[in-house]
Symmetry: C2
Subunit: 397 residues, 2 copies
């Protein structure tokens, strides 16, 4: 990524503050030289981490940036946790000389332990000094938010509005506990676009629904998941304030960025060896399509079959039936890649060997057509491997 | 088990008919010398195997016995599958000289392939000849129904009604795809009790709810799951026809037998190294208690934490919040065995080492008290190990 592609007026950086014992980067800052419109979406877990509560409170007010730490989630930390989140944002606001309550706090990592506040405060001071020096290091920011991630996930895109080039940057972390409603993931998407805040909300909701809410690694969701979207208007475009062609351009780019990051999370799924797109079509209702695809994307039997490169289509059928969606077995078609395995509820004369050969690909496509209606839903998931068990059996030890 | 403990008038046997390529036992017969009252409960999977449809049709009519095969599930086999199930039961009825539609068919194994009917027919003839010889080999029957099971699961119990000894025998198969609503499991519970059919239904529903519907290995349910309960009245007790003390005795024994078999399935869970009882208490509603315990029992993160012997209570909290039940984080208590980990939403001063030591046990107990109401629900589950992935990645190959 060349420097010129980053949205104007944003400065990002990351450091190793000492929260993680292993010396890896663990604190990041994202700062805008002018106030931003702010849209956000958060975990549906009924237990919400302190930083999520703070970010929710500040929704739709002008925001100057955020402090993020990995290594400790500040979740299930009682009233002290919320106090700590306020204290650390207040410190950043003072150091950066910006308005009260214009900085957000985000955390990811082990839950139930209080933030090491002395370490965090020192980290904030260092990060704010880096901002003063105007160094922009998005790569370090993207690295500082990682936990079990094996890869940094970031993307830049640009598009034109009213003759002005508009830029967008996104980065995300997450590789386990990934399930619709944004499990253990943080994503940050910033742009220098000038746009009305309500339209940002609308576009973000749509983009998240088709990206971060359409991925699954292991079917669990965390207490900290957040997607933060900021726009500071520095591109100088005529403000977008209705759903016209310009809005569409912005929304398409936002979706592209969100989908890229969401898929990157699945590709980096803990122990994943396969990337699988599952499409359910022909459902009687949108809810049925969602139920069915979600059950398939989370079924241990389906996920281990993909790991074993076994075209065990019987398991896919089990999972369809177990999902609770309306099913007429005599109407089901099933495709693996381009191979039609099942037609109107019966096995076709496909060759086992051809199906097995297809399963050796890294990127796989499974399509179920229920043949009952016109609703469809796609999800992205990964397989379940020995290494998933290893990573999660050993996480803290 | 000594001969005298088996219910009177029942003959069981099993053979290697040749459905399984590896020469293991794959067909069994269960026959009563007199007609039985018959109660049954079946999978909630929306796709139901042919034998399940046949068994449902014959519910509540007098039954003489059943033919069961492993190795092929006769599921997703279209109208031919249902025809095959009729043909095979008709053959058994003729061979045994019993009334039309008085024999049941049950199948378990790979789905989507038609039954090898020539092999099955030969098997039925052999099994019926064994019945003529009056040999009773429940152990062979229990073996013939197994698929990925590593252990035969059977139990006998007796109790007294009106001075007569009443006997009960149960056997079951199942080790994967186990989830509430009886996933990939078959269970047979027979007794020589004399009892009104409606009371059998009632007792079975209660017993299954607290046993086969309270276990989880991997959160999936199959198309074939069935619990078959037969009573032939040969004990000669005065018939039970109201919910008196005698009914209570019978129901308690039925529950004991069902719970033993259900727990044996979890203990034999594919790759399982731990047996875990999870109790959710203090829920606002029964539905909430069910949601919460079911999410915990099926969470990959929870199951891998148990495999890793890691007292990672943060994961248990995640799962509680993700379950969708009503939660007030400041009211939650959590116990691992006798160790109080969390009290009113905060970590206690328990010693990490003590908790880690406890996790080394084979049998584990986790209790979550939501502190909101008086509803509770217990489930039994196992951990998720490398071997689960191995068994399920390699099942067909």
């Amino acid at each position: 990524m060349s420097e010129k592609n980053y949205p104007r007026g944003f400065l990002l950086n990351g450091i190793a503050a000492g929260i993680k014992a292993n010396g890896e980067l663990d604190m990041g800052i994202l700062y805008s030289q002018g106030p931003c419109h702010y849209a956000g979406m958060f975990t549906k877990n009924k237990i919400q981490a302190a930083p999520v509560r703070l970010c929710r409170e500040r929704l739709h007010s002008p925001i100057h940036g955020l402090i993020v730490n990995s290594g400790s989630a500040n979740s299930f930390t009682g009233s002290q946790g919320l106090k700590d989140a306020y204290i650390l944002t207040r410190l950043a606001e003072e150091e950066l000389k910006v308005k009260n309550e214009s900085i957000l706090s985000l955390s990811t990592g082990v839950i139930g332990e209080p933030l090491p506040m002395d370490t965090v405060k020192e980290g904030i001071k260092k990060l704010c000094r880096l901002i003063e020096s105007k160094e922009n290091k998005p790569g370090l920011f993207a690295q500082s938010i990682c936990t079990t991630d094996t890869k940094v996930k970031e993307i830049t895109r640009h598009f034109e509005i009213g003759g002005k080039q508009v830029r967008m940057y996104g980065s995300a972390k997450g590789s386990g506990m990934i399930f619709p409603n944004m499990a253990t993931m943080l994503a940050f998407i910033v742009t220098d676009l000038s746009i009305a805040p309500l339209l940002m909300d609308k576009a973000l909701t749509e983009a998240v629904d088709e990206s971060f809410n359409a991925i699954s690694v292991d079917g669990d969701q965390s207490t900290n998941d957040s997607v933060i979207h900021l726009a500071n208007g520095k591109a100088g475009n005529p403000i977008i304030n209705k759903e016209d062609q310009d809005y569409q351009k912005y929304k398409d780019t936002l979706k592209e960025v969100a989908l890229y990051l969401a898929q990157a999370i699945v590709r980096d799924g803990e122990g994943a060896t396969k990337f699988i797109e599952i499409a359910v079509k022909g459902a009687l209702s949108q809810e049925d399509a969602q139920k069915c695809v979600s059950h398939l994307a989370n079924s241990l039997l389906v996920k281990t079959a993909f790991f074993g490169e076994d075209a065990n289509w019987g398991r896919f059928i089990y999972a369809v039936g177990a999902s609770g969606c309306e099913v007429d077995e005599t109407m089901i078609d099933m495709k693996l890649g381009d191979i039609l395995l099942v037609e109107k509820g019966l096995r076709t004369d496909f060759k086992d060997q051809e199906a097995s050969q297809y399963m050796k690909n890294h990127d796989l496509y499974l399509e179920i057509n229920l043949g009952l209606g016109q609703y469809s839903k796609t999800m992205y998931t990964c397989d379940l491997s020995y290494d998933y068990v290893k990573i999660n059996g050993d996480y803290r030890t």
